[in-house]
């Protein structure tokens, strides 16, 4: 029995780059937002042996 092999040729795709990659601006701008801590958040893991500072200088 004769075996027939089919050879498929893949078409080569040529990529054309119009300008050097170094010229492309890749800087990223992120917007950072804070989180307001509640009194419970502040007191979490806070030992009661410490007392808050007094800021009354009047």
């Amino acid at each position: 029995m004769k075996k027939i092999f089919k050879i498929q040729k893949t078409k080569k795709v040529k990529t054309v780059v119009n300008r050097p990659i170094n010229d492309i601006d890749v800087s990223v701008k992120m917007i950072h937002t804070g989180r307001i801590l509640t009194v419970d958040d502040v007191n979490k893991n806070r030992s009661s042996k410490y007392s808050y500072l007094v800021f009354d200088f009047s």
Binding site: K29, H32, G34, T38, L53, F57
Partner: protein
């Protein structure tokens, strides 16, 4: 609160026009001198930064970690900074305070810490940020200061509640402005 004694070395204005109050203290436990700079930013925000006097000319002066094993000394340094903050508050009772937990060298390396480095160059949750934020929660009353946590950039703001103009939106926008000016 046990701390080192500090001296007020006056003020200067940097090349960007920012007024900086300069303080200094001698850490007698380790026999080293420190410089503390308080930057007067917009909206009465005061940014506190400190470094060893020996490192004052180094570009990495905020990133070096020294004597961290000596916990008494570390607490003395932080207590001294708090005393300086109280001095600033005496001069301006609308003052808010901010800090950035500067990364140590390993934290700013993409090789070791790529997962915490943001695309814009800021660094998440640094060691200093974790320590300092725990420390300020211990001493700064939430009734007087709103604690705003910027974990993504390792920044922290103690917003003075007397300063009604400094809203969360204003502080967010200002932080983003400062970051884009610094990193871009």
């Amino acid at each position: 609160m046990v701390a080192y004694e500090f001296i007020d070395n006056g003020s200067r204005v940097d090349s960007d026009g920012v007024k900086i109050d300069v303080f200094a203290f001698h850490a007698t436990l380790v026999n080293q001198r420190y410089i503390v700079e308080v930057l007067h930013m917009e909206h009465d925000i005061h940014v506190v930064q400190f470094f060893l006097k020996n490192h004052r000319l180094s570009g990495n002066r905020f990133n070096m970690l020294l004597n961290a094993h000596n916990k008494t000394h570390v607490f003395y340094v932080l207590n001294t900074i708090v005393n300086i903050v109280k001095t600033i508050f005496k001069r301006n009772n609308q003052a808010s305070f901010g800090f950035m937990g500067a990364p140590i060298r390993k934290e700013s390396s993409r090789k070791y810490n790529s997962k915490n480095i943001n695309p814009d160059g800021t660094i998440k949750n640094t060691k200093r940020f974790s320590s300092y934020s725990l420390y300020v929660k211990r001493y700064f009353p939430p009734t007087l200061f709103t604690h705003i946590d910027y974990e993504d950039t390792s920044c922290y703001l103690l917003k003075n509640n007397k300063n009604v103009n400094l809203t969360k939106k204003v502080s967010d926008n200002y932080l983003n402005e400062v970051i884009s000016a610094k990193y871009n």
